[in-house]
């Protein structure tokens, strides 16, 4: 049941009506049942996995909290974390690991029987596993008490707005919200609805629309010239941002309608002035997760320079692997890690550059960061490592005749003048919204303070664009969210 599907358009209002009609003490039951129905709409078989993860992490946390000695606590922590990670490894990485071993053996001309495993990747496994891991670790660290109510804990793991693609909520933030009574709040509902509309706009009107042109280039590596890959990569940068942040907005908006507050997952990431800042603004719930549970425990930056650099690379290699069991994601993570290492050395010098021209400095830094981030989307989107390397090798040729190449690229990708105008207009809307967010604050909170006709006009324009995009999309092609594969 995708957020951009008709099923969800029916599911959410039904859940909302029942939720607000029920007394507080019964609401968790409804949300848990709804969350499991939501998850089972992909596959009922996969329920066993989420139930196992829920039960093991619940038990591990309880045992940690009841353990009398530190060594016992450590034992339960190791078991709890180990079981969750083992399940994640088997379902997400085993095929990759086996394939990698086979390649190495084949390269060394060592004959070996490599079993072919046909394991289905359970939707959302990376998200809910990380959520359970943070819970168990936080209980071990004493950051929160273990949740005794199994139903509430199961709801924390499976809460449908953020179950399959985040935000990866921390128990400290979400669990207490299940215990307090939420009162209907018209302002929050209006805010939630606007967030859902904005999320759907980004997904349906922008991401799905431009995705077709990105696929045209990336799915046939020999189909296009170098400039087409520049255009397609730039489009992909917007596609993935709109796709994923759109999902997060619908998730946060849906939760708001139920009275819950989920953490922000994106904050104008393409306005970042460094790669470090980009990661404070992109997929915030994952970045902070890696920071809290990998980077800082490794020593963070309060160690020797070489160790600090190693910590950065390790953290981003793992972040790349989290995204998918493919070498392309490993390369993507590695490159981000290396750029962050470079930034460690450049930061003191950067602070001295253009001290008297802060705006020019900000512009240059933002532009350079944007170019680097966009270039690094190439391995992320490429279907294979060799595709990614081929595209990188071709890119310099795009500079030979940029204007002519651009025209040819548009033609090759099938981008007509009308399509180009639509792309430019939607990018402008997106950039304007993010600029407001970067420099003024949350756009919808600013909108909520405006007079009623302004609120109505903006909301109406947004909802109208969403409806128009839905009613003109190709039938039967409700596109999945990119992050579902992770």
């Amino acid at each position: 049941m995708l957020f951009n599907s008709w099923q969800y358009a029916v599911f959410l209002p039904v859940v909302l009506a029942l939720y607000w009609a029920l007394p507080q003490k019964r609401r968790w039951v409804l949300l848990l049942v709804a969350s499991y129905i939501f998850y089972m709409s992909w596959s009922a078989k996969l329920m066993a996995l989420i139930l196992t993860t829920t039960a093991t992490s619940y038990a591990a946390a309880l045992l940690i909290s009841r353990a009398k000695t530190q060594s016992r606590k450590k034992l339960w922590l190791t078991l709890g974390v180990g079981i969750s990670l083992a399940m994640l490894f088997v379902f997400k990485y085993l095929n990759f690991a086996v394939g990698l071993c086979a390649s190495v053996l084949s390269f060394l001309h060592i004959p070996a029987f490599v079993p072919s495993l046909n394991l289905l990747l359970p939707v959302g496994i990376s998200f809910y596993t990380f959520q359970t891991l943070s819970y168990v670790i936080d209980v071990y660290r004493g950051a929160l008490p273990a949740e005794k109510h199994f139903g509430i804990y199961a709801l924390y793991v499976s809460f449908f707005p953020q179950l399959v693609a985040g935000p990866i909520e921390r128990a400290v933030n979400l669990l207490p919200q299940f215990h307090v009574e939420h009162k209907p709040n018209a302002d929050e509902w209006a805010h939630g609805l606007r967030l859902i509309a904005w999320g759907l706009f980004k997904k349906v009107a922008i991401a799905d629309f431009i995705g077709v042109y990105v696929d045209a280039a990336y799915n046939d590596i020999n189909a296009c010239g170098p400039m087409a890959y520049v255009v397609a990569t730039a489009l992909f940068a917007v596609q993935i941002y709109c796709d994923f942040s759109g999902y997060s907005d619908v998730a946060i908006g849906s939760a708001k309608l139920l009275g819950f507050k989920l953490m922000e997952n994106f904050n104008a990431p393409y306005f970042a002035r460094s790669i470090k800042e980009f990661w404070r603004r992109w997929h915030i719930s994952l970045s902070t997760w890696f920071s809290d549970y990998v980077y800082i425990p490794l020593g963070g930056s309060r160690v020797s320079v070489s160790r600090h650099l190693a910590n950065l690379v390790i953290t981003f290699l793992l972040s790349g692997l989290w995204h998918g069991a493919k070498l392309t994601f490993v390369l993507w993570g590695l490159c981000h890690g290396l750029l962050l290492c470079l930034d460690v050395f450049l930061l003191p010098k950067r602070e001295k550059w253009l001290k008297n021209a802060p705006r020019l400095k900000a512009f240059i830094e933002t532009a350079v960061t944007l170019v680097l981030v966009v270039l690094l989307w190439i391995p992320f989107r490429a279907n294979s490592l060799s595709d990614a390397l081929t595209i990188f090798a071709r890119l310099p040729y795009a500079l030979s005749a940029p204007v002519q190449g651009f025209t040819v690229a548009l033609e090759t990708l099938g981008i007509t003048s009308a399509v180009l105008i639509r792309i430019i207009l939607s990018f402008a809307a997106l950039a304007a919204c993010d600029a407001v967010r970067r420099y003024k604050g949350q756009p919808f909170e600013i909108l909520a303070r405006q007079k009623s006709p302004v609120r109505f006009a903006v909301s109406y324009a947004l909802a109208f664009c969403v409806m128009l995009a839905i009613f003109t999309q190709p039938a039967g092609t409700v596109a999945e969210f990119i992050y579902f594969q992770f």
């Binding site: 599907s5 008709w6 209907p184 018209a186 509902w189 209006a190 609805l193 109505f456 909301s459 109406y460 909802a463 109208f464 409806m467 839905i470 009613f471 003109t472 999309q473 190709p474 039938a475 039967g476």
Partner: protein, 311 residues
């Protein structure tokens, strides 16, 4: 709270109004696909509604009217034979839905799905054309069609308004036979035709058949229509659609596997075997599904024989 719901309702109404107005405007325009292939579908549904039981109803894709000669079946079995098959793009569920209220005691429904119909490949713009301006057809459409019908309405509207400018839709494809006038009264193709395929098959439309091509939805639909027909006193049979043997990649094993799966999962009686539908290229007319006159005689004779021997 009351204020919020009032404001929300006003907002929702204001939002839906332009879309509803556009929908009403397009629907209020005169039908423009009456002369096209989809006009044939409209005619066939009228014949279905007006023909009393007992009757034979054939459901399939565009190949069905090329495969069965209605008059021969009528003469052999003594009841009218309506060939509903127009195009596979309407989907099996479209045809099944139109049977509702039109089946009676002693009726025989013969389902001959083309391979793509097992995959549930539907073109909703085509469904709009087949159902245009006909409330009786639209209201019978399955619920599962509604979301995609809504999202494909804009394309249908564009085609319809464009067709109106030229005094009705022209034939949808290159050949004039693909019009409403190409069908006889009972919905079959009646004109004489020989093979015009240069290689004996359409080289651009080859396919592989496996047991996996049939979706669970289609299996459920087949079982549902059999149950519904049973309640009406009608009998349902599943049979083969014809396919050019040269266009079948990977041989007949996949076809047999598909039949085995259908037999295991569908509670419907069979007429013939699925592999019988893989016929010699000399029997085909202009596509890998459409039979020529000789092929139609062979297929019709086989169907009559199967029906006479049917349980």
């Amino acid at each position: 709270m009351k204020r919020f719901f009032v404001k929300f309702s006003v907002f929702a109404l204001a939002l839906l109004l332009p879309f509803a107005a556009y929908f009403a405007y397009v629907q209020a325009q005169p039908a423009s696909f009456g002369k096209s292939l989809m006009g044939g579908a409209q005619h066939k549904l009228e014949v279905l509604a007006s023909t009393k039981s007992p009757k034979i109803v054939i459901i399939g894709g565009s190949g069905a009217p090329y495969a069965v000669i209605s008059e021969d079946v009528q003469n052999a079995l003594g009841m009218p034979c309506i060939n509903l098959g127009t195009t596979a793009y309407l989907g099996l569920e479209f045809y099944f839905a139109q049977l509702k209220g039109n089946l009676g005691d002693g009726d025989i429904v013969i389902i001959a799905p083309e391979y793509s119909m097992y995959e549930n490949g539907i073109d909703y713009e085509t469904v709009w054309m087949a159902a245009e301006n006909r409330a009786s057809v639209i209201k019978k459409l399955p619920l599962s069609y509604v979301p995609n019908m809504l999202t494909s309405f804009s394309r249908y509207a564009k085609s319809k308004l464009g067709a109106l400018k030229t005094d009705g839709a022209s034939p949808l494809t290159y050949d004039e036979q693909y019009t409403a006038a190409g069908y006889g009264y009972w919905g079959d193709i009646t004109f004489d035709r020989d093979c015009i395929l240069e290689s004996g098959y359409n080289t651009q439309d080859t396919r592989t058949v496996t047991a996996d091509i049939v979706t669970d939805e289609v299996i459920n639909q087949l079982n549902a229509v059999a149950a519904y027909a049973g309640k009406c006193g009608a009998e349902v049979y599943l049979t083969y659609a014809t396919f050019d043997r040269l266009a079948l990649i990977d041989g007949i094993d996949g076809v047999n596997a598909l039949e085995a799966r259908l037999e295991a999962e569908c509670d419907i009686k069979w007429l013939g075997n699925l592999s019988d539908g893989v016929m010699d290229e000399k029997y085909f007319y202009n596509t890998n599904n459409h039979l020529n006159s000789e092929g139609a005689k062979v297929r019709t004779a086989a169907l009559i024989s199967d029906l006479n021997e049917a349980p």
